[in-house]
């Protein structure tokens, strides 16, 4: 017995020296939704890095709501790489002085995956919902997360708001007044606002609501998990883009810059993008051309493809947050303490 212990101790003390190089630990702080995608990508990257450098990479992964993750990193959570749902959350880290390099300096503007805001309904679409206008009808129960806590919810609100603003929602005038009227009518119908996007969709899965405003990838993830519902693509909706960045101050502190940058670069490789596509994410859009092209670069996977359809249909009128001035304008003017949304929700639910 005593001998066995000696052996164990002996082996343990030898183990590190036997390896050629010390393993390196990389901390990834991501938002909750792409967890399945990263579960596939990380082993690929580990193998790749081992092949190239002979070094083992150990991952420490944290998945939280995007805003919480951003705050944690600002507060001292020394993550090497952040993958968030919302550009503003990276901007907060930049403003805290932790990201010093231009993280958007690549053809994709620092965005690693994309999606669109969509509507998801019950099987057979019993409430006959075909576009934005239908979810503002009286008596339709709508589920969407809370924009106060969820970056994803802000995308949803901007999808609805933007479509109406652009005059693409039947029965509502183009422009600010019509858009405000539209989201007002929608939020009258909202019955549950969960803290984040995943939780909100789970509430819908648990049988609450006629329609969920959510992201395309969330629908595909649910489908892969055996969920039964149908996706409705609005004729006009917003392109959701998810940023990824290396946190400069922390990688220099941890001595992980090389591997962190390699990991971020790896996320754009076809293998990694295929994993994203399997989880329902569109590839990021090359942003050199202002005319946005969302044709998928990645072959759709068979299991996620519905009969005859391509995985990522083209949206008739696809717009981006830049059309509204970018998040640095939208966050205060729409979601700020005195923003359009904040005032609207207090009024709608206050009656």
């Amino acid at each position: 017995m005593r001998k066995l212990w000696l052996w164990v101790i002996l082996l343990m003390s030898f183990a590190p020296t036997q390896a050629q190089t010390q393993p390196i630990t990389l901390t990834l702080a991501a938002y909750a939704v792409p967890r399945e995608a990263y579960a596939k990508i990380i082993p690929l990257f580990q193998a790749d890095w081992l092949r190239q450098t002979g070094q083992e990479v150990i991952f420490e992964e944290s998945y939280l709501a995007s805003g919480a993750q951003s705050r944690a990193v600002v507060g001292g959570f020394a993550a090497d790489v952040v993958a968030l749902s919302h550009e503003q959350h990276v901007t907060n880290i930049v403003n805290a002085g932790l990201i010093t390099a231009d993280w958007q300096d690549n053809p994709y503007n620092g965005m690693v995956s994309a999606s669109v805001a969509v509507l998801v309904v019950r099987p057979g679409n019993p409430r006959e919902i075909f576009d934005w206008a239908d979810i503002a009808q009286p008596g339709i129960e709508v589920i969407t997360p809370d924009p106060a806590t969820s970056g994803g919810a802000q995308w949803n609100v901007m999808g609805a708001y933007g479509a109406a603003y652009r005059g693409q929602v039947e029965g509502y005038e183009a422009g600010e007044a019509g858009a405000l009227q539209f989201i007002t009518d929608v939020f009258i119908n909202v019955s549950v606002m969960d803290a984040d996007g995943r939780e909100s969709f789970l509430t819908f899965e648990r049988g609450i609501g006629d329609v969920a405003i959510t992201y395309e990838n969330e629908y595909f993830a649910g489908l892969a998990a055996g969920g039964e519902y149908e996706i409705i693509y609005p004729s006009s909706t917003i392109l959701i883009e998810n940023p990824v960045a290396v946190v400069d101050v922390y990688v220099d502190q941890n001595g992980t810059r090389e591997v962190a940058e390699a990991f971020v670069a790896f996320l754009y490789t076809p293998e990694a993008q295929a994993a994203f596509a399997e989880s329902g994410f569109r590839p990021p859009v090359i942003q050199i051309d202002p005319d946005i092209d969302v044709t998928p670069e990645v072959e759709p996977t068979p299991e996620a493809t519905a009969e005859g359809e391509t995985q990522f249909p083209v949206i008739e009128d696809l717009f981006t947050i830049e059309d509204f001035g970018g998040w640095e304008v939208v966050v205060p003017s729409i979601f700020g303490d005195d923003g359009i949304y904040t005032r609207m929700i207090a009024e709608v639910k206050g009656q």
């Binding site: 805003g67 705050r71 907060n92 809370d146 549950v192 606002m193 609450i208 207090a346 639910k349």
Partner: protein
């Protein structure tokens, strides 16, 4: 051996003083650091923008209604549990029946079970896809989970032991003979209860009720799962605070926390006062 003995006897004259001060200061410093530091942070953050911005933060409609919802759901729970808790305590003390021991131990369950698990359990029981939740929604058109009844239900679970554990010992110590005397003297049992038992246990009922009230105000783990989180409708203050923290609005979060704490502190002071009065009377 001999030496250590003399040492201790020698020390007794001097050490008490030192131990006395040491104990007092270590306890008070520990308490101050652990309790006062968070309190200071919350106050400073809440009042950083001046009293007006504090006032602004707490009078914003969503904040005001969140505080209001927290208070009314907690109050409703308190009232129900004061009645059911007292009844339970009464049954536990007065009657013998099979399963009594089981019931008695079951009552502490809410103290022991993580509140997050409570939330999960309630969803599994009353969720719209479960037989019970579906039936209630069909029959009464009422939704339990993801709505305010869910909040009250979670709080009822949470607060159940408080009143019982406060009332039980008082009831047990009541002079049974006093009751019996009143009873044999022709007073109905209801009258006995009202005239003799009730006044004796009322302070304990209130103490237990207020404790559960204070506990319910800050509840988060189960509510975050069970409530619909609709601002102005089913968003409690604790969840509102969470939302404000999440969206980086620490000042608003701290302001509402201060209000919650003030309400809770007043409640505990009231408990303290009632307890003091009770011991003074006894």
């Amino acid at each position: 051996m001999m030496q250590t003995r003399t040492l201790t006897t020698l020390n007794t004259s001097r050490t008490p003083q030192m131990i006395f001060w040491g104990v007092r200061w270590s306890a008070l410093i520990y308490l101050s650091v652990l309790i006062a530091l968070p309190l200071i942070v919350i106050s400073v953050e809440g009042l950083r923008g001046g009293i007006w911005s504090f006032w602004d933060s707490i009078t914003r409609p969503a904040a005001l209604s969140a505080i209001f919802i927290s208070v009314w759901t907690a109050a409703l729970m308190t009232v129900i549990n004061m009645i059911m808790g007292t009844l339970t305590a009464y049954v536990l003390v007065q009657y013998r029946f099979p399963g009594k021991r089981w019931l008695d131990s079951l009552i502490d369950l809410p103290f022991a079970i993580p509140t997050l698990v409570t939330g999960v359990m309630l969803i599994l029981l009353y969720g719209p896809q479960t037989p019970i939740g579906g039936w209630i929604e069909d029959q009464f058109g009422m939704r339990i989970v993801f709505s305010s009844p869910g909040i009250v239900l979670a709080l009822l679970f949470l607060g159940y032991p408080f009143v019982i554990r406060a009332v039980q010992p008082v009831l047990a110590s009541l002079d049974i003979h006093q009751q019996e005397a009143a009873y044999t003297l022709g007073a109905s049992s209801w009258l006995t209860f009202r005239r003799i038992v009730f006044p004796a246990i009322l302070p304990a009922m209130i103490t237990g009720g207020l404790l559960s009230f204070a506990r319910a105000l800050g509840e988060f783990g189960s509510i975050v799962i069970v409530s619909g989180n609709i601002p102005m409708r089913s968003q409690t203050a604790a969840v509102y605070i969470y939302g404000q923290v999440e969206s980086g609005n620490l000042a608003a979060a701290s302001s509402v926390s201060l209000v919650l704490m003030a309400i809770a502190l007043l409640t505990t002071l009231l408990v303290d006062y009632l307890a003091r009065r009770r011991t003074a009377h006894a």
